[in-house]
């Protein structure tokens, strides 16, 4: 009784705490840690040298290069879009704001496969612009532009959905103060707004980048899987795996795991350093 009476009203009994924490840790270990560990173990099954060799194979390096190029185009594009959309939505009043936010979020609720399909229907051989593109010898589907488009689509909302609530919370009075003292739009943005949202922007870019480099379904539809040419890293993993080159597949996968781990570390560091910048439910 004495011990129990010292427990605050909002505290749970020690056995309940231990039980909940135990269940949670066991579940997370089974669902999250085990797969992560499996990737590294399988990659190193034939030793470090075999894994390194698999990553340094020409096709693998080409996949790494394509993935980096894709992210280097898609992420800045979506960051610029996110800033534009957040400025229009968070700093101004207009009708239909909720609808616009929902539309920007739309790609999150579309299957990646459908995201790839829509561009095939437009730019593919039998698509709206198929003949027009063939006449001019332009290739979008089964080429870099298609891969970039599909990646832009699936990562479209990341930066915007991070910035819009953040900028709404910050209100408009700092910008109004700057404008009332004679500052122009761009000056106000760079000198007043940007310093206030830079951490939120970084957070959005971080998640956007992780998804851009890791996207599989959408890219798979538009890529054509041409080895060394239109294979991104996740697609390369699939090819190696389907060819029963498990060490190769898991070695490239391990590289992607490292990307994920670095992303999580940076994300956690951002959350610790800037507690007001929180995940707003990424995807």
């Amino acid at each position: 009784m004495a011990a129990a009476s010292h427990r605050r009203a909002t505290d749970d009994p020690a056995w309940a705490k231990a039980l909940v924490i135990g269940i949670v840790l066991a579940f997370l270990a089974l669902v999250l840690v085990l797969p992560l560990a499996a990737v590294f173990v399988e990659a190193l099954r034939k030793g470090l040298d075999a894994a390194v060799a698999a990553v340094r194979a020409p096709d693998a390096l080409a996949a790494v290069r394509l993935t980096l190029i894709t992210a280097a185009i898609a992420v800045p594009f979506n960051a610029a879009f996110g800033l534009c959309a957040a400025w229009a939505i968070a700093k101004h009043d207009f009708k239909g704001k909720a609808l616009l936010i929902t539309l920007i979020d739309l790609p999150f609720s579309v299957s990646p496969v459908v995201a790839g399909l829509i561009y095939v229907l437009i730019f593919g051989l039998q698509g709206w612009f198929g003949d027009w593109l063939v006449e001019r010898d332009l290739k979008i589907i089964f080429a870099l532009p298609g891969i970039v488009l599909a990646t832009v689509f699936v990562t479209f909302p990341f930066v915007a959905r991070e910035l819009i609530p953040l900028m709404q919370e910050q209100g408009t009075s700092e910008e109004e103060a700057a404008v009332s003292m004679g500052a122009g739009g761009l000056y106000t943005f760079w000198r007043v707004t940007a310093p206030n949202v830079r951490w939120g922007l970084m957070y959005g870019v971080l998640l956007c980048n992780a998804r851009a480099m890791g996207e599989f379904g959408a890219v798979s539809v538009v890529s054509g899987h041409i080895r060394g040419l239109t294979n991104t890293m996740p697609l390369h993993v699939e090819i190696l795996y389907n060819e029963y080159d498990f060490v190769g597949a898991f070695a490239v996968a391990a590289l992607l795991c490292l990307l994920a781990v670095v992303t999580l570390i940076l994300k956690t560091a951002l959350e610790v350093a800037q507690p007001h910048v929180r995940g707003r439910g990424g995807h």
Binding site: A177, V179, S180, M181, G182, A183, R191, P195, N196
Partner: protein, 339 residues
């Protein structure tokens, strides 16, 4: 600079924030916009600043129409409710912002800007704090920074939105005097928004009282307190006992209470009596004292009439002893408005 507001209207959605508002502000005047929340006072201030644009009507600065001019073109100094200081800039950078953004020959050189910043810091008694960041300042200090930042551009009019709203009572009092002092030193036309009648009456040359997007009365603090032109003003400015009753033959009555009401039509009416306008009077009506308590130099007496009306009476401490048991009182002065 004189400011004229002509029939200004502004609606947010279906909710009218300003309803044909007219207002003249004289050069060098210190005017308070007083009203409850949702009365439209902040909207009016923002329309003057160019932060909000009216649906109809005109805003004139010295007779020039600025209704749709940008905030920057109006050269107003605006102090925001939560100050809106730039968190990532030092106090000095904050104050210098309005000078820094200027271009070409309008932009003072570095030394001149520094001199102006020093001068302003001195004006608001914040010397030596220029290198601090806003987060390192107290609420009162932040308010002073916001004030000096607004003054740095040598505004033609200084506008303040609930300038003391976020401060505690003691800081609030000293900053009120500070604002009056700064106003008198600079002579700049100043308009501030407040929901605190004490603040408005103490600080302003004139007070405009807003309710439901309309100006109910505008006048000196004495006028709005002593000669309230509407029931709303009477109830909102100063303390008052409120009585619902009837007027007939130029006389208001509510139970035992009777008051002269010359010039009012017969019918339902509301009477307001200030607590200090009740006095002991043998020819008056009867009331029983329930409780008396000291409030500074005065005593506040809670009494109840035989027909159950509750009264608040204010008396001097010397008189207090006479307010005991059953007393007879009368209203020396009252404001009666037709319902």
């Amino acid at each position: 600079m004189t400011i004229s507001i002509r029939s200004v209207e502004k609606t947010f959605g279906r909710y009218p924030a300003l309803n044909k508002v007219d207002l003249e502000i004289a050069d060098g005047e210190l005017l308070a916009l007083l009203g409850p929340s949702g009365s439209g006072k902040t909207t009016l201030l923002r329309a003057i600043a160019g932060l909000e644009f009216p649906d109809a009507g005109q805003v004139l600065f010295d007779g020039v129409d600025v209704t749709f001019a940008s905030a920057a073109d109006r050269r107003v100094g605006f102090v925001f409710q939560q100050y809106a200081l730039f968190k990532h800039m030092t106090v000095a950078k904050n104050i210098a912002f309005g000078l820094d953004v200027r271009k070409g020959k309008d932009k003072p050189d570095k030394a001149e800007i520094a001199r102006r910043v020093e001068e302003l810091l001195k004006l608001v008694e914040l010397e030596g704090l220029g290198k601090r960041y806003p987060s390192q300042l107290s609420g009162g200090q932040r308010q002073r920074v916001a004030l000096s930042r607004a003054l740095a551009v040598q505004p033609s009019v200084l506008l303040l939105d609930e300038p003391f709203g976020a401060l505690d009572a003691t800081v609030r009092k000293s900053l009120r005097r500070e604002l009056r002092r700064v106003h008198d030193a600079t002579g700049v036309t100043t308009i501030f928004v407040t929901h605190d009648q004490e603040e408005a009456l103490e600080l302003a040359d004139r007070v405009a009282i807003l309710n439901n997007g309309r100006i109910e009365q505008i006048g000196t603090p004495d006028q709005v307190h002593d000669q309230p032109s509407t029931a709303f003003v009477c109830g909102f400015v100063g303390e008052a006992n409120r009585f619902e009753g009837q007027v007939s033959n130029g006389r208001f009555s509510a139970g035992v209470l009777g008051l002269p009401a010359t010039g009012l039509r017969d019918g339902a009416a509301t009477a307001y009596v200030r607590p200090h306008d009740f006095a002991l009077d043998d020819s008056g009506f009867e009331a029983r004292v329930e409780r008396a308590h000291v409030q500074g130099p005065l005593t506040t007496v809670n009494a109840v009439t035989p027909d159950g009306r509750r009264l608040e009476i204010s008396a001097s401490r010397a008189e207090a002893a006479r307010f005991a048991g059953t007393i007879r009182i009368a209203a020396r002065k009252a404001h009666v408005y037709a319902a």
